[in-house]
Amino acid sequence: MNVALTPFLRRSLRTHCRAGKTYLIRGGMLLAMLASVASAQVTARFIGAPGLVLFSSIVWISAFLICLGGPAYFASIITEEKEQMTLGLLKMTGLRPVSILLGKSTSQMLGAIALLLVQLPFTVLSITLGGVSLPQVTAAYLALVAHLVFVTNLGLVCSVVCRRSRRAATLTVVLLLAFYFVPPLAAAVLGTTPGGLLDWAQQASVFARRRAVLTTGFSGSAVGFQVLSNLALGAFFFVLAWAGFERFTRTVEVPAARRARALRRTWGLRLFGPGRAWKNALAWKDFHFMVGGKGMLLLKFILYGLLLGGIARAVDPLGVSMNAEEFGAMAIQLMLFIGFIEVTLCSSRVFGTERKWGTLSSVMILPKRTWQIAYAKVAGCLLALLPTLAWFCVGVGLAGDDFFEGLAWFFSEPFAYYAILQVVFFWHLVAYFSLVLRRGGLLLAFAVCLFGNWLSLVVFFLLGEWAAAGGLILALLGLMAFVHYRILRRLELLAAAE
């Protein structure tokens, strides 16, 4: 069989070698490892077994990285060829579908394994430090590789089925979340019996396996159920991708000249249509064409209301009856969480979509300053938060004094301002990375903030609460101003490069 692994692997290696982000990611991984060493040193003073602590965090970081970065990385295996219109050319070379799938997925997977290799010196260090045995290391790495095979092939299926990388990545995330969270949730509600289906499903998780393997005195087999099940699932998804390859890649999809179904439905009604452009035309455009417009606002308002009502009703049979204040508190917390997610998504799209559509040059040539253009766009996107804000206000109204007391307590904490600023900084980073990277910007912003948090903890221990908060706030403000400037410069550069 002509597997054609070599050309794909060679291309993948060349691409990775040329891309600066490869070195950034590996450097980031190295920094995370160094942070783990420092963390193990501190923790070992209290609980001992520094080797085990270090190895435990190495495995956790790896598993987390595969879960978080895998969807973005592997879900583009085939979609990137579709987007670049090169899949047809690949098929014309006479390569069989299985060769294309195997060649591309293996080369991507080897790229990910290279990241695991970065950890090798640290793994050796953890064995030297003591507290972790060789069978534990073997079992943990087998678990990670099996998990990688599973995520790669899940991403591969989504990549075959979907037309765009973004959609494939979203589908992979949804399926992974279902894989990890549905069994424990179902077990919590329905109860579980040892050896039952739910019990097996929970054991297939790499996180469960990590816990088992890294228990002191682990004496189980290196090849556990998680390894076998993940490998089997990986093989199953590969076969699925192979079976569906011809069907889903038969035609080069030309986008139909129709609006998205939801927009067609709501914009058919005059009230929900975009109407004429506002005085602030950029805000009008982003409100109607990026975040869904008035129809989407109404839809979200109803959905959030149903969600709040549903939660209130769901806890009722458990004997927990909610009063108005409790409902208000729940609404506030839920809306803060939803608001955070919404702003994060807006941040990743507000400039990134202009870049994707190739419209930046048309926008940046408007007789306005760059920051005016950027803020007008942000304003349009923020209008999408109106339903969240409305339910938040309802929550504040119902919670009454509890809310204001909680607010006063929160702001009496020195780190409150730092926490808020960090969230705003995170949104800045997401927007910036959406202009720099084709994908994975959200993940990188998240990783940078996680690392920043770890650093801030060190500062906290060194300087004390108030001094640390003051210093960190100043540092964050400086960083935010820098990222802000970089976003504006990047917009100008990208507009000129189009």
Partner: protein, 320 residues
């Protein structure tokens, strides 16, 4: 406003313009000017620096050396005033695919600060000018390449700019769409707009443009009238006479005309390519000779091969 070399008002004045992409120089002291209300062609092979120059004039790139003035305004310092007076059409779509044609124009009109009746009139007029009124409710992503170019042109014109910067607008268009676009550009010129149009095919612009600048590897090789290009290939004019059918006496008549240097029959066609000395004869005498010889004239045009020859002589072979 500054003046061109021949003393007319210059809409665009470029002096010693330099720009480099990292270590690769794209423009090396480019200098030319564009007179008011003319159609100016900006021609060069791929990688010559056309798009870089256009982007600098459109204020998207800042010059690293030299100066670019548009209506006497420095594009680096007074970019917002420049933007109000120019319309830029990039070589890619640059349009929102999910909008309808009307929404797209309405959005850009509003973004340029047009309000109420003024905006309605501008959008309506542009839909008429570009013959897109019948497609105003069509989604942009459903338009053909030709329609997309018309809409892009309308977008660039939405705020009634005095100068239009067009980056290879005819690229990828079929012959019919090219001719229709040329007609629109002529109409715009008649309306008093200055059109600065780039292309990598000189003969494509020869009939349309009043003046032309040829650039190669970041250096201007020629800037002036299209007719002036002929003098680069010698003192002789070159024309093509096409007859309805073969008629050998016409060739003899042309060869006998004073000042005619050569008459060559085009292989497989009833056409003759002739070169003549402008100081001794002119096109009227040639036409008269054709008709008096009994030849039935089908067409009489300047030989674009001469322009191509000039272009080849001015530009260097190979990839920059």
């Amino acid at each position: 406003m500054t003046k061109t070399d021949d003393g007319t008002d210059a809409v665009v004045q470029v002096r010693g313009l330099c720009y480099s992409y990292k270590t690769t120089p794209a423009l090396k002291g480019v200098a030319f000017s564009v007179a008011e209300q003319c159609i100016h062609g900006f021609v060069g092979p791929n990688g010559a620096g056309k798009t870089t120059t256009l982007k600098i004039l459109a204020t998207l790139l800042k010059p690293q050396g030299g100066q670019a003035l548009v209506f006497g305004l420095d594009v680096k310092r007074r970019y917002r005033q420049v933007r109000r007076r120019i319309g830029f059409m990039p070589d890619h779509s640059g349009l929102y695919q999910d909008m309808t044609v009307f929404e797209c124009l309405d959005f850009f009109a509003a973004a340029y600060g047009l309000r109420g009746g003024r905006r309605d009139r501008a959008v309506g007029d542009l839909l008429e000018l570009t013959d897109m009124a019948g497609r105003k409710d069509s989604l942009v992503k459903g338009l053909s390449r030709g329609m997309m170019q018309r809409l892009n042109l309308a977008r660039a014109l939405v705020h009634d700019p005095d100068l239009l910067l067009l980056d290879e607008p005819a690229s990828g268009l079929d012959p019919r769409a090219r001719i229709e676009l040329t007609e629109i550009l002529r109409e715009l010129s008649r309306m008093g707009k200055t059109v600065f149009i780039s292309s990598h095919i000189l003969s494509e612009l020869a009939d349309l443009c009043d003046s032309v600048t040829i650039i190669d590897r970041g250096v201007v090789k020629y800037s002036g009238s299209v007719r002036g290009l002929h003098s680069l290939t010698g003192e002789h004019a070159s024309y093509v006479v096409t007859l309805e059918d073969e008629h050998p006496p016409t060739q003899e008549a042309l060869e006998g005309l004073e000042g005619v240097l050569s008459v060559t029959k085009v292989e497989g066609q009833s056409s003759y390519r002739l070169a003549f000395d402008r100081s001794k004869t002119d096109t009227n005498a040639i036409l008269r000779a054709v008709l008096e010889s009994g030849g039935r004239l089908a067409s009489f045009r300047e030989d674009t091969r001469v322009l191509s020859q000039a272009f080849m002589e001015l530009t260097e072979p190979g990839v920059p």
